[in-house]
């Protein structure tokens, strides 16, 4: 398995709370990605980063924000969680051109 970690694995939180989903990888990969996936459905790219201080929005519009201050760390933040944010969030990383993306275990978020 790839060395990419996500915490928490499960999170139940009330509307309006600020949350940060953590993603870390120990492989030294420069590229990192965040996907949103509803159960049993396809993945939608919401953010990506090509390196430190580089962040871009993905294909699916998201109210979340990301930062990339360190190579190994790519946290995702929701300033004010809403029930519509309920989903699974997957983090991935990659390195050389054509190299596969390695996925973390995901965070299942439930906003009440």
């Amino acid at each position: 398995e790839a060395d990419i970690y996500q915490t928490p694995r499960y999170l139940v939180i009330g509307t309006g709370k600020k949350i940060t989903l953590e993603c870390s990888q120990t492989m030294g990969h420069d590229k990192m990605y965040w996907y949103q996936q509803d159960p049993g459905m396809e993945l939608h790219l919401i953010h990506y980063s090509y390196g430190v201080n580089s962040t871009e929005k993905g294909d699916l519009s998201s109210e979340s924000t990301v930062s990339r201050i360190r190579t190994e760390h790519f946290p995702l933040t929701l300033e004010s969680a809403r029930p519509s944010h309920t989903s699974q969030y997957l983090c991935a990383s990659s390195s050389n051109p054509g190299e596969t993306q390695y996925f973390g275990p995901g965070t299942r978020l439930l906003v009440l």
């Binding site: 398995e1 590229k31 459905m41 993945l43 054509g98 275990p105």
Partner: protein
């Protein structure tokens, strides 16, 4: 823009049998990669197999093999001797050969292996 289509939302197969999952894609690029990922229930997404478009030989990984038809833009996955642990969502994905390594995913096929 690239699109990936998996026309079989759900499939089932008996244990020890062979099953083929379909994937078609649309692109104007000539240099790209194709992947099949497996996502077991409540578990991590993992790579099953990878194919480089410039290679004519079909990729194989143990019981998993692909039938890559570049002209037809088809990339099917064959699972031989299906096992209960093969039960999962399977996603086909496309990547252009550039610096971004961005993946375009299909909608997924839910495979159930029955004992």
């Amino acid at each position: 823009a690239q699109t990936v289509t998996q026309s079989q939302p759900e499939m089932s197969v008996q244990e020890a049998e062979t099953v083929t999952l379909s994937c078609t894609y649309d692109t104007s690029e000539n240099n790209y990669y194709l992947f099949w990922y497996k996502q077991p229930p409540s578990r991590q997404m993992i790579l099953v197999i990878r194919q480089e478009a410039y290679k004519q030989q079909n990729a194989t990984e143990n019981r998993f093999s692909v039938n890559f038809q570049k002209a037809a833009k088809s990339f099917s996955l064959k699972i031989s001797d299906s096992q209960l642990g093969d039960t999962a969502m399977y996603f086909c994905a496309f990547m252009i050969n550039n610096a971004g390594n961005m993946l375009t995913f299909g909608g997924g096929t839910r495979l159930m292996v029955k004992p």
